[in-house]
Every structure is written in C-alpha cells, then in structure tokens.
C-alpha cells in the first residue's frame, strides 16, 4: 500500500523548479548578459550569470598596439563612460613613466570625468527606471544625457567614443565659450534632477519596488568585491577620488554620499546625490581652470621603463583599475589587464537576486549598473 503520501515534506505536491533563461536577448539585461534563473514559482533560488557574448579581446589586443593607440581601445570598454576609461589608462601610463601633468590639463580632465559621470548616471537612471516600469524617466534622462554628449562633441568631435585624453595631458584645449556652456548645463541639470526626483523618490510604487530589495551588508559587499555605488550603498566609505586623489580632486570640495541600509533604494539615492556632487565638482573645476599648457613633457616615442604598475580611478560604475607591465624595450605593453567595476559588481548579482522575485531581478541588474562591454572587454 502506497496510498499514504509522505507527510514529512512541507507540501504534498511534487513541485519542479523552473529553469528560465534570461537573455542574452532580453530587453532589460542591459546588453548581452545571460542569466540562468532557477525559479520556485516566481522566487529565484539560484542565478548564474553567463558572460562573454561581447568579448572582443581588448586586453590582448592592447598588448599588440602601441601606447597611444590603446587609448582608443579603452573607449570601447565602458562605452557609455569613455572619458573616464581614457583617464584611467592615461594616468596609469603617466604613473609608469612618471610624467607630470600640467595643472590646467588636470582640471579639464576632472571636468570631463565628472561630465561623463553625469552622462553615465543619466543612462543608469533611465534604464533602471524603465526596468521598473517608469518609462518617462528614460526619455527625460536621455534628453539631459544628450546635452552632455553635445558638450563632448564640441570638445573633441565625438559623441560616444571620445578618445579624449592623451598620455601627459589632453589632445586639445577647450573651445572658446565652452566653459560657459558647461556652467549653464550645470544649472539646467540641477532643475532636471528635481524633476526626476518628483517622479521617483517619494513615489510609493518606486519605494515598494526598491526598498529592502537586494539588501547587502557592508562586510558582504567588501567580500564580494563590489565597488562604487553598490559598495557605498552599504555604507562603506570607499571612493578612490577621496582615498587616492588623482587629477584635481584633491583641490576640490565634494562629499561622498553613503547609504545606510544597502538596498536598491539606497543605491538609487546615492547615485542621485552623486549627480549633485558631480555638478558641484564641475562648477568648482570650471571656475578654477588655471592658465597654462595642456600637455606635459612627453617623449616623442612613448616607451615606459621596465616595470609594472596598478592605478585605479573612480569611474561612474566603481573602481576602474589598470594593471600594466612594460618590458621597457618594445613600444607596446607586455601585459595589459583591466579591473572593470561592472565585472566585479556583476559578481554580486547572484547573491543579490537569490530569494527575490523575477521582477526584482531586472531591478537588481539595473541597480548594479553594468555595461556588458566592460564586463566582457
């Protein structure tokens, strides 16, 4: 007699796990991320990220290009924040060669990097809100991002992959009147930020969708190697701009916004604050641009001495580091390695989504703000 069903289990039915494939073609995996979700009903019990769909071998390619050509390749990593990629790379090589960058160039680099942060955060805000269903914010944020792209276009002629920095300084000085335009953009952006916040910050549905979703403690975030806003959202005061200042950050005043709960809403608030801090930084930097040259003393043939170095900057997505080995003989790096913030933050995804619902997965992919071009390189 096998009539008696076993009573030990919590449910009398045999329930199957549903394995569902999210991506690489999915509207909200921000590119070609593929997540293999194991579901119990709508609850995620396991998630595996599959990456590599947009791997172009940038690191290996760089080992066969000369030092200046690599700048162009770094554009293609985090393609929504090309200027900070350029900045990180150029500074690493400058560190390796011990090149002094003129103060004017450092200020301009700061302006560009912070404008880039605003543009990148605009894209994050738009897509994150869109994933949660607030579609108007997307269009608003892209409208403002367009202004930043216009500024970049005026500065260097490109709108997406700028190739905007050089080892030792900048390729070009700013066009006349550009600083005025930047300042008027700052005024505009402040007003628009309030618009976004009207739509989201106190919106009950937005709060319900982001409060207590994907909570992660500071220790755990450090353990997973998270960086940037996801790390600061858990209350860890780590910002490369403050801790190891580069460019002109040591001469400018700014705060590092920190979260308390480590949930998606905190990460949202932090990035909204970072918008404001960036505007503040841009204002200070533009007003304080000194006179002087924009290029330092750089040899005609860039050939760093033998040695290795690691240098990190705070990109919009987190700590972007470059590790470069030079053999001192050739005109290309012996080893080129990037520590991409998106990749490191993506590691946290599994931990964040487990136990949440399918709908939260897209919110959490949005909150860690990944760009697959940077994850795969």
């Amino acid at each position: 007699m096998t009539l008696e069903a076993p009573r030990a289990s919590t449910t009398q039915f045999d329930t199957d796990e549903l394995v569902i494939n999210m991506g690489p073609q999915h509207p909200s995996t921000h590119g070609v991320l593929r997540v293999v979700l194991k579901l119990d009903g709508e609850r995620v019990i396991d998630a595996d990220c599959v990456i590599g769909y947009i791997h172009r071998g940038i690191e290996k390619l760089s080992e066969n290009r000369d030092w200046t050509q690599i700048i162009l390749l770094t554009d293609r990593m985090d393609y929504v924040a090309a200027a900070t990629n350029n900045l990180g790379y150029c500074q690493t090589v400058e560190k390796l060669m011990q090149i002094e960058v003129p103060r004017r160039a450092r200020y301009l680099r700061t302006v560009l990097a912070e404008l880039q942060r605003i543009a990148s955060h605009c894209l994050w805000l738009g897509t994150h809100a869109m994933d949660i269903g607030a579609m108007t914010v997307l269009l608003y944020a892209f409208r403002e991002r367009e202004f930043v792209l216009d500024l970049f276009e005026e500065f260097c002629g490109a709108r997406l992959t700028y190739n905007s920095m050089r080892i030792g300084g900048l390729p070009l000085d700013i066009p006349p009147g550009w600083d005025k335009k930047v300042l008027s953009f700052c005024d505009l952006m402040e007003g628009k930020l309030n618009d976004y916040e009207t739509l989201l910050t106190n919106n009950r549905i937005w709060l319900k969708r982001t409060r207590d979703v994907g909570v992660i403690s500071g220790d755990e975030a450090i353990g997973l190697g998270l960086c940037g806003p996801p790390l600061r959202g858990s209350g860890v005061p780590r910002d490369v701009r403050k801790d190891e200042p580069y460019a002109a950050y040591d001469e400018l005043e700014f705060n590092v916004p920190l979260g308390t709960r480590g949930d998606t809403y905190d990460r949202y608030l932090i990035r909204m604050d970072e918008f404001r801090e960036s505007i503040r930084l841009v204002r200070q930097a533009v007003e304080g641009i000194p006179e002087g040259p924009i290029m330092g003393k750089v040899p005609r043939l860039i050939k760093p001495p033998a040695g290795e170095t690691y240098h990190a900057i705070e990109s919009p997505k987190g700590e972007l580091g470059y590790f470069i080995v030079s053999d001192g003989k050739s005109t290309n790096p012996y080893r080129f390695r990037v520590r991409p913030p998106s990749f490191c933050n993506l590691q946290g995804l599994k931990r964040l989504v487990t136990g949440h619902l399918v709908a939260d997965v897209v919110a959490l992919i949005g909150t860690i703000d990944i760009v697959l071009g940077e994850v795969d390189r």
């Binding site: 549903l18 569902i20 494939n21 999915h26 509207p27 909200s28 709508e42 809100a129 869109m130 994933d131 949660i132 269903g133 607030a134 579609m135 108007t136 269009l139 608003y140 409208r143 739509l199 989201l200 919106n203 549905i205 937005w206 319900k208 969708r209 619902l357 399918v358 709908a359 939260d360 997965v361 897209v362």
Partner: protein
C-alpha cells in the same frame, strides 16, 4: 421583421466598426499622449501629425507573417486571441450610448452582471495564449494574469454591488436614470467605490501600473511573446477594447453616462445642446486619457505587491464600503 432583425443587425455592424476604429485611434492617442508626456512628438510621418498611423498600424499587422511555434498547441494557440477579443466586443451589446432605445442594442435587466460575467470570460484568452505557446515566459505571464484578473474581479464586483444597492437596479439604463433623478452623479455619492472600480479596472485591463502580465522589461512581452501578425493584433485589440469597456463602466456607474453635468440644475441647462452620446463618448475619452497618463507616470508594481494590494486593501475596503452603503440605505 425590420424591427427585430434588420435594425439590430445594422446596429451591431455599426457598433463593431465603431469600436474597432475607436481602438485603432486609441492606440494612436496613446502613442501621442505618452510622447507629449515624454517631450517627444510621437508618430509624425504618416499623414498630417501622424493621424494616418492609426490606419497604417493595422495594415502592417495584417500583412505580417503569422507564426505558430512548432511545439505550440495549434488549435488553442489560434483560439486564444479570439477568446480574448470576443468578450470585449460582446460587452458593447448592453452599453447605452444615450437615453432612447435607438442608442443601445439591448437593455437587459441584468446588464451590469452581464458585463461582469462576459469580461470574466476574457481571462481565458490570456491563460490559454500563455499555455498554448508552450514557452516559459508566456506561461509565467499567463499565470500572473489569471491570478490578477480573478482577484481584482472580486474587488470590482464587490464594489459594484454597493452601487447596485444605491440604485436598486442592475440595468445600465436604469442606473443612469437613477443618477438623473437624484440630480447627482454617483461619483459624489460613492467616491470610494469610484476609486476602487477605477483601480480594479486598471488591473483588470492589465494596464500600468498593473501591467505585469505583459511586463516588457521582465517577461519580454508576457503572454503574447510568441504571437505575431494578426493574432497578436487581436490581443492588442482586446486590451484596448477592454480599456474602453472599463471607461464606459466607470462613466455609466459614476459619471452619469450620457447625462450632462448636474442635469437638474437649471443654470446649466444650456449644456443640453450637446447631444447625449457626445457627452458619453467624451467622458469615456477623458478616462482613457487618465489611463494613458497613468501609464506614462508610474512605475510598475511587483507581483506579490499587486496581489497584496488586491486582497488586503481593495477587497476589505470594498466590503466595508458595501456595509456602510447598506447601513446608510436602511437608515435613510
């Protein structure tokens, strides 16, 4: 012969065409309104200000290839879109566009119940569409959809009962007449019920912020992921026809149907020069505008939050409203 067959048939033809044309223009309206909300222009290429987009869209959908997935259940896959559209259209049989019998097809004594029951059939299209596709995302979406529809139907029906209590009739014409006699729209008599029916209506038509079954960013389009061409457009038509139905219910129940504002106030009698059916359709479009406006503004609920809202907020409030209405009805 003329009275019993020809006239009703002619009315049916006119009504069906009117609804379908209204739906195509509603799609255009939605695109335009959302575009304006997002500081865009919306469709501008086809015809002046993109007006002919309403005609271009259906033509495109009809001409598209109609794909049936190989592993799908062919019959159910074909049946599902039909089952979702037909109830949405049948409902219009009892919607009164004006006071005379000329303006409606039939005035049955259980009109309101008829609408509720016929719309409840519409859920089959969604469930079966998701199941017959034999694909995971549509299945998840169709489960969400059916749970959502059933829960919110309870809330809406409970709320409508309190309106029935005030009028004492289930006939839609009777309900509007009761508002004329009372001289006051039920929106002022039953404001709580209005909110409940409107929220429930948003959920029942799968509109934002309750558009989980077709949450594009989560479930890649939901239950109609595997559909294309004409069959997809039937689902589309059904959704928008349902929007019109819900707006019509709200207008009839709470905003006096074809009545002008404050019908018994002599100072406003000059409003009578507008024909009743224009009042009715105008009010419906006002609500459709609100539907679209909400979609452009709000983020989406999560599935569990949506169910919690339905069962823990709307249904208790609906029952409370019913009890209060009953007590007041007895007391007054």
């Amino acid at each position: 012969m003329l009275e019993t067959i020809v006239v009703p048939l002619a009315k049916i033809v006119v009504l069906l065409n009117a609804v379908l044309v209204a739906v195509t223009f509603l799609v255009l309206m939605e695109r335009k309104v959302i575009a304006w909300a997002q500081s865009r222009l919306g469709p501008m290429r086809v015809g002046p200000y993109g007006i002919l987009q309403a005609i271009a869209d259906p033509i495109k959908l009809i001409l598209k290839e109609d794909i049936t997935p190989r592993k799908a259940d062919k019959y159910v896959f074909t049946l599902a879109p039909i089952m979702s559209l037909v109830p949405a259209l049948v409902v219009f049989a009892v919607v009164p566009f004006g006071p005379d019998p000329f303006y409606y097809l039939s005035d049955i004594n259980v009109g309101l119940l008829f609408i509720i029951s016929v719309t409840s059939i519409g859920v089959y299209g969604i469930i079966l569409g998701g199941w017959a596709s034999n694909s995971k995302y549509p299945l998840l979406a169709s489960l969400r959809a059916s749970a959502q529809l059933i829960s919110y139907e309870i809330a809406v029906t409970m709320t409508l009962v309190s309106v029935i209590l005030t009028t004492g009739t289930l006939s839609l014409v009777g309900i509007v007449e009761a508002q004329r006699e009372g001289g006051l729209w039920f929106a002022f008599v039953q404001p709580v019920a209005l909110m409940l029916v409107f929220i429930g209506g948003l959920a029942e038509t799968n509109r934002a912020p309750f558009d989980l079954p077709e949450a594009e960013t989560e479930l890649t389009g939901g239950f109609h992921t595997e559909y294309s061409g004409m069959r997809f457009s039937l689902f589309f038509l059904a959704e928008y026809a349902n929007m019109i139905v819900i707006s019509a219910i709200v207008v009839i129940m709470f905003f006096g149907g074809w009545l002008q504002p404050f019908p018994n106030v002599p100072a406003l009698a000059f409003l009578g020069f507008v024909p009743p059916w224009i009042w009715f359709i105008g009010k419906i479009f006002l609500f459709l505008y609100v539907f679209i406006w909400i979609r452009a503004t709000l983020p989406r609920y999560r599935y569990d939050q949506l169910m919690a809202l339905g069962w823990k907020v709307l249904i208790p409030v609906a029952i409370g409203n019913l009890v209060v209405t009953g007590i007041l009805k007895v007391a007054l």
